[in-house]
């Protein structure tokens, strides 16, 4: 028998239930309506949202401003109630069972409004008390609370600002702190709302590796789950295993990154870094089924546009190697997710900003 939780279950039961489902986050037809005709404000509706994020999945949540991303995140966190449908986090309703739903879940808000009168150290200490850091583990098996605060401050590069008032920190530092408070206690699920905003390139690269490490280890034996809302497509493409595109309050596409790109676009792009490629071989590449266009790009590489879903890379590499040309790399063209994203919005109703 473990500790009794706020919902009356033992903590063991709560943990067991949350671990029996392999779905970390699920939206089951959740909707949210704002405003009303009587109040004179135009009524706005988000949803119905149908979305699942499995454990260990790193999902990029994409959508233009006002498409409903933050509303979805706020429903996940139990800050707002769905008007209809439901949201489950680790199998629990975050409204009626907030504590069990958000156990081991951490959130880093976009452009966070953090308590300016506290220092980073005080904020992280506050958060560690809120989440009951280490309450369910023998003390000798974990770091002390001050050590955990120090670890996280060091991880985000704010150790030397530990005692500076948050109000005096730069925007980028506050963003780092927002991520830091989410990493206290090594949660199993991270919900990140535009985590890279305000970070310098070095900072963004650092946090990319932090999130990658989190996703591969998850602060436990299992892989971590990440739900990341972002406008930076390259970040999503490099970090995420899957994406969901939301527009006008509706999920347009959801699935593994490559699948979504293929579903949205009716073509893929391949880039070759190759030397001594003869015109004859270029012509033979053009004849591979699916190849629509072959053209050199500004970097001296060859871009190949492939219609449909066929993967021509094995045939292509074999052809080039046999011809005697020197093939250095063969890769899917970057920014395909961005192209797919823009195309998805165009297809929906042309509301591209």
């Amino acid at each position: 028998m473990g500790l009794i939780t706020d919902s009356g279950q033992t903590q063991y039961e709560s943990e067991r239930r949350s671990q029996t489902t392999d779905v970390a986050i699920s939206f089951d037809g959740a909707t949210k309506s704002y405003g009303s005709l009587s109040s004179g404000r135009k009524k706005k509706k988000i949803g119905p949202i149908k979305l699942e994020v499995k454990r260990g999945e790193v999902l990029g949540f994409l959508g233009p401003n006002g498409s409903g991303k933050t509303t979805c995140i706020r429903m996940m966190l139990g800050l707002i109630r769905p008007t209809s449908g439901r949201v489950l986090i680790n199998g629990f309703d975050p409204i009626s069972n907030h504590v069990d739903a958000l156990r081991h879940v951490a959130y880093s808000p976009e452009l966070p409004n953090i308590q300016a009168f506290l220092t980073p150290q005080e904020l992280l200490s506050l958060v560690s008390h809120e989440i009951g850091y280490g309450a369910d583990r023998p003390k000798e098996t974990i770091r002390s609370r001050p050590d955990e605060v120090k670890r996280v401050l060091e991880l985000v590069g704010l150790l030397e600002y530990a005692d500076t008032k948050i109000g005096k920190l730069s925007k980028g530092m506050v963003q780092r702190l927002s991520i830091a408070q989410a990493l206290i206690g090594s949660p199993k699920t991270l919900i990140l709302d535009e985590p890279m905003i305000g970070l310098d390139p070095a900072g963004a690269a650092h946090f990319r590796s932090v999130f990658q490490e989190f996703a591969s280890e998850g602060g436990d034996d299992t892989r971590g789950t990440v739900f990341m809302s972002s406008h930076i497509m390259s970040e999503v493409e490099s970090l995420c295993t899957s994406v969901a595109i939301i527009h006008g309050g509706r999920i347009l596409y959801q699935g593994p990154v490559d699948d979504v790109i293929r579903n949205v676009l009716d073509y893929t792009m391949i880039t070759l870094e190759v030397r001594e490629l003869s015109p004859q071989i270029i012509e033979r590449i053009r004849q591979i089924p699916g190849v629509d266009e072959v053209r050199p790009n500004a970097d001296g590489e060859i871009d190949i546009l492939v219609r449909g879903n066929s993967d021509i890379r094995p045939d292509l590499s074999e052809l080039i190697v046999r011809s005697g040309a020197k093939l250095y790399t063969i890769k899917s063209t970057e920014n395909m997710l961005e192209r797919a994203y823009i195309e998805a919005l165009k297809k929906d109703n042309g509301m591209v900003r």
């Binding site: 907030h98 504590v99 409004n113 308590q115 206690g185 090594s186 436990d220």
Partner: protein, 292 residues
């Protein structure tokens, strides 16, 4: 060190305590509390200095050993209630205005624990200011008028004053949660306080002129009545009769509500209503995003 997830959830009591400490720190960081403390110091020293310097024909000298009541009761009708309003009205609303509530409630904590922590934290801060008022009054009375008598009632009087101030504290706390704008919550809570005070005075006048009991009954039910009557009803029977003169001088000599039990009942009705309405609204309403 084994790498395990240690982000669970704190016990409700620990979380309430955490939020109470946080609220005290947050409120102190606001300049208004410093202003309140400065006013407390001023209001508790200046009257004694003035009285000892120029004297007063209205206060008989046998009352000198009980002069501490001037500071204790002189502030109750306005300053203490207004202090309670000022602290409580911003406790919830300022978090919405600054958008800081979102971060706190995105953790695995119960909303009730947050609510309780904020309420208790703000109230503890109020008690600190009340204690400062008591200490300064005593210190000033002792400094300017020598040894003081009748101090055995002070602990009980402190508790009664704390209880009496809970009425406007909870009303302002409720308004802060319902309106979610600190300045509007201050205005409405202060308006309720002053309106009650003015109406009470007006009704008193009509009652005196007409002698109709219904006016007295209405006056008793006004929120300022139990809040200001309770300390007087508690203290006056335990002090020499001459203190009545001093209390009238201090502006708090007459109890509108006739008994302690009735005062407590009216006070409880207002206080519990305020807390319950605020708690229910907070439990079921969405957490709004930054509102200013």
């Amino acid at each position: 060190m084994q790498k395990v997830s240690t982000s669970g959830a704190g016990s409700t009591a620990e979380v309430i305590l955490t939020f109470a400490r946080y609220e005290i720190k947050r409120a102190i960081a606001r300049r208004k509390v410093l202003v309140l403390v400065a006013f407390t110091v001023l209001l508790d020293i200046l009257p004694y200095y003035a009285l000892s310097s120029v004297g007063s024909s209205r206060i008989p000298s046998p009352a000198d050993p009980y002069i501490w009541v001037v500071g204790i009761f002189g502030l109750q009708p306005f300053f203490l209630n207004f202090t309670a309003i000022l602290i409580a009205a911003g406790a919830m609303s300022e978090e919405y205005e600054q958008g800081t509530v979102e971060l706190l409630l995105s953790k695995p904590v119960k909303r009730q624990a947050y609510f309780a922590g904020k309420f208790i934290g703000g109230y503890l801060l109020f008690l600190m200011i009340l204690a400062l008022n008591t200490i300064l009054s005593l210190g000033s009375a002792y400094t300017f008028f020598g040894s003081q008598l009748g101090l055995s009632i002070l602990p009980g009087l402190f508790a009664i004053q704390a209880l009496a101030s809970l009425l406007f504290y909870s009303l302002a706390f409720m308004l802060g949660e319902l309106i979610r704008r600190s300045s509007l919550a201050y205005i409405f809570a202060s308006a309720a306080f002053f309106a009650s005070f003015i109406i009470s005075t007006y009704i008193d006048l009509i009652d005196t002129l007409t002698g109709t009991t219904i006016y007295k009954s209405i006056q008793i039910l006004l929120p300022t009545s139990p809040a200001n009557s309770l300390p007087i009803l508690y203290a006056l029977p335990q002090l020499p009769s001459i203190i009545g003169t001093v209390l009238r001088f201090a502006g708090g000599g007459t109890a509108i509500v006739p008994t302690i039990s009735l005062s407590l009942a009216i006070l409880a009705a207002y206080t519990i209503s305020g807390i319950v309405i605020a708690a229910l609204y907070f439990q079921f309403a969405d957490i709004s995003r930054r509102v200013s």
